[in-house]
């Protein structure tokens, strides 16, 4: 009697256990419910959601293709997406990479992660800002500019050049972001590629000697200049425009505009098709859509005030006109080739 009741209890417990495992498996299946939907496109997007989402939603609405987006964060400085693409190389999950700068796109090209697609929408983009074989195309740029605090800097004696970072009169008053990451890394690599390793190393040693603030990112440079902790610093146009739109007491200087100076670095957004991505045809349609002039117009009118690479009628006042400024003459492939070495050298100066 006791034995049979024990046996029944055991059986019912086993049944209970089985049903619990079934529940657990169902839960796992539910969690894994992101099933592959064929009429979709996966985009890894380094441009922030607030600017890119309306454009991507527009595409979704017009094409009927579902978009799945992975965004990056300021903390990971485009690193998240590029590392993710590299880690996924054996089984790519991404179709399109929308980068908010150029050097990491070329890095992916060099690591054989991109597939050429000369989009018809890119025909009028200046050749300097697109790959001749169609591996990537640029649009809607940012510029590296000086942001300065109007209450700290004398309006008759403003900084005007990258070289001012190493000048004694600005000791402890200027700031840049870590030159190992993001657009500042590209900017630094440009100096290495254009002026040679020795000159660039001497310059950055002098920058360090001059107690230039090496901050966490371009947004931090903007914030510390706004707060008056630093009088001026190098940042990107989108960061500076945000501060001006918020009514902060800061101004923008286009650096190195004299005849004997290097000019200003312009860094475009870039878009590229990922090699062997799961939805290539949809990816191509998305690239065609993003590269239309309308995207540049939307991004120019946004808070980030991105600079159109093509002529744009009625350009907003706060958006730079590329025809009216001296641009740095840069070979982006050479800069990208230099990026790793320059970053390693700069790491030894700045990460101690």
């Amino acid at each position: 009697m006791i034995g049979s009741s024990f046996c029944c209890t055991k059986k019912s417990n086993q049944k209970k256990m089985k049903s619990k495992w079934i529940y657990l498996l169902s839960l796992l299946l539910l969690l894994a419910s992101c099933a592959q939907d064929k009429n979709e496109v996966v985009i890894y997007c380094a441009l922030d959601k607030m600017y890119s989402e309306p454009i991507l939603k527009d595409f979704e609405k017009q094409s009927g293709i579902k978009i799945k987006v992975v965004y990056d964060t300021e903390l990971t400085k485009t690193v998240g997406l590029v590392n993710r693409i590299l880690a996924e190389a054996s089984n790519p999950q991404c179709d399109v990479f929308w980068n908010n700068e150029i050097s990491r796109t070329i890095l992916l090209q060099e690591k054989n992660q991109l597939q050429p697609y000369p989009s018809p929408s890119a025909f009028d983009i200046p050749s300097k800002y697109k790959d001749s074989l169609g591996y990537w195309a640029g649009f809607a740029a940012r510029a590296r500019i000086i942001i300065y605090n109007k209450s700290k800097c004398n309006p008759n004696d403003l900084p005007s050049s990258m070289m001012d970072l190493s000048k004694e009169k600005w000791k402890g008053k200027a700031a840049i972001a870590y030159p190992l990451f993001g657009t500042t890394a590209t900017h630094a690599a440009t100096l290495f590629s254009e002026y040679g390793n020795d000159w660039a190393m001497d310059f950055f040693e002098a920058v360090k000697e001059n107690e230039v603030g090496i901050l966490d990112g371009n947004a931090t440079v903007r914030d510390r200049v706004v707060s008056g902790d630093y009088w001026w610093g190098f940042t990107d146009t989108d960061d500076a425009n945000g501060a001006i739109e918020d009514g902060k007491n800061v101004g923008i200087i286009y650096p190195d505009q004299k005849d004997d100076e290097m000019g200003m670095l312009i860094i475009p957004n870039t878009i590229a098709l990922i090699k062997d991505g799961p939805n290539q045809e949809n990816g191509k349609l998305l690239i065609d859509f993003v590269l239309k002039p309308k995207t540049e117009e939307i991004l120019a009118r946004a808070r980030s005030a991105q600079i159109p690479l093509r002529p744009m009628p009625n350009i907003p006042k706060n958006v730079m006109n590329l025809d009216s400024v001296k641009q740095m003459d840069v070979d982006f492939y050479r800069v990208c080739g230099q990026l790793n070495e320059s970053s390693r050298k700069l790491g030894k100066i700045f990460i101690k």
């Binding site: 209970k16 992101c34 996966v42 993710r84 990112g217 914030d223 510390r224 902790d229």
Partner: protein, 519 residues
Amino acid sequence: MHSQRISKFEIAIIFLLLLLVVAPILAVFLDLINPLIRQDISKDSFLTETRIYKLFAKSLYLSFAVLISCTIIAFPIAWLFSKYSFPFKGIFATLTVVPLFIPPYISAISWMYAFDSQGWLGFPDSFNFISGFGGNLLVFSFWLFPLMFLFFHNALLIGKPYYETVSLYRRFWPGIRFKMTLMVKYGVIPGMILTFVLVFVNFSVPGVLQLNVYPTEIFAQFGAFYDQEQAALLSLPNLIIAIFLAVFISKHFHRQSRFGLLNHLPGFQTVSGFKLIAIYTFFIAFLLAVIGIPILSLVLRTESFSTFIQAIADTYMQWINSLLFALAGTLVICLMAFLLVWHVRHKPGLQILSMIILLLPMFVSGGLYAIGLIQVWNQSFLGGFVYGSSLMVILSYFRFMPIAFFLILIGISKLPKRFEEIAYLSTGNKLAVISKIVLPQIKNSVFGALSITFIFCFAELDTVVLTYPPGMETIPVRIFALLHYGTHQTVAALCLWQVIIIIAIVLPLSGLINQKLLK
């Protein structure tokens, strides 16, 4: 009740853990073997650079400094709660744990908001300590002292019957030594190890507060050079520390398992008069500093109520994603942790292996662990079942399993084994023993493990930024994106929401714990 032979179920658990937790690390580090054999790891490897050693030493220094300061803060508070009874004790105990609910990067941002030159507590530049070692020490200490407090408090309560005996000793030093030994035995060491590792591998706080540490270099290798081999190579010392600590702690628990105490809570001395005023003054001042300053900073930066509301309206999907991921992750992790604790308790031979399995992912940088997860699970034959699904996020949370494991282990280690044996003899059912005998006895530990694991999962960024499925962004990812593109008001509002939501979910739980524990 338990034979010393390892059962199929136990093998299955260990295999599952090896697959889920260790395989990603192996995937990353196995990539190192070929280059090491060929000796073609970059010439700039860490072996040749003194600055790398300096960074390593700086990280160790910061971790130990935080450990000491957390001990200095946590021990007197834990002692106070374990010895005295006073009105509103439960409320004060709950509030003491609240700083742990504020994710460290949010805390760092809020202290920056308070102390920068335009902040509401703005100091002149020459006195501003927040950017640098001092700021890091402060933020980490205020974040982690509640964790130490929980472990100290637990140890003091459990060892209390012994202390009462020891107080009969006339001589001072033997008494103190005995107390310290007992405290160590009853779980202070896991608290110290967790505190140490949470500082040692953290990159976000030093990033915000301008301090170069060892994780900065690992991140630079990974982030600036896309050199996973160098990043893995730099993480090797972390793994060695993890293995050393795992062996150390498993020996510690092996010794401890000889003890078995019931949840014996002796009486508290009632406080009144001047002592009570002193205690209230201390708590109000202290809690204002550790909770008031960061929260007030965020409130002041948010500026308007409409921004506060708009911030959550714009990000409701990310909140839902984060909550679902964190809740599912917490349940899975705590369940796994409990199963592991249960088997470690009865098979001490499994301890060292389990500890190593658990501690390794915590010591590896989040980014590197994520790369390992991608390498293991992004397989075409699996389709989108694991990689590209929510399961990847939950796998990313496995880094936090030691927290749940230690809290449950400490809870269960004070339960005499004979209780289980008697119960098993009368029911013959392990499940009934666990649900009717063991869980009710250790529910405080289980609640604690659930709460604290949830906090860590909810705020996780380093790994999740690389593993979240397309279209299912989490709130920490959003906050960090907005740090660059958004306004300070929005960032502050979202940080404030994150704190409120964590508190709203966890506080009732910890209130319950305190009610049970401190009455």
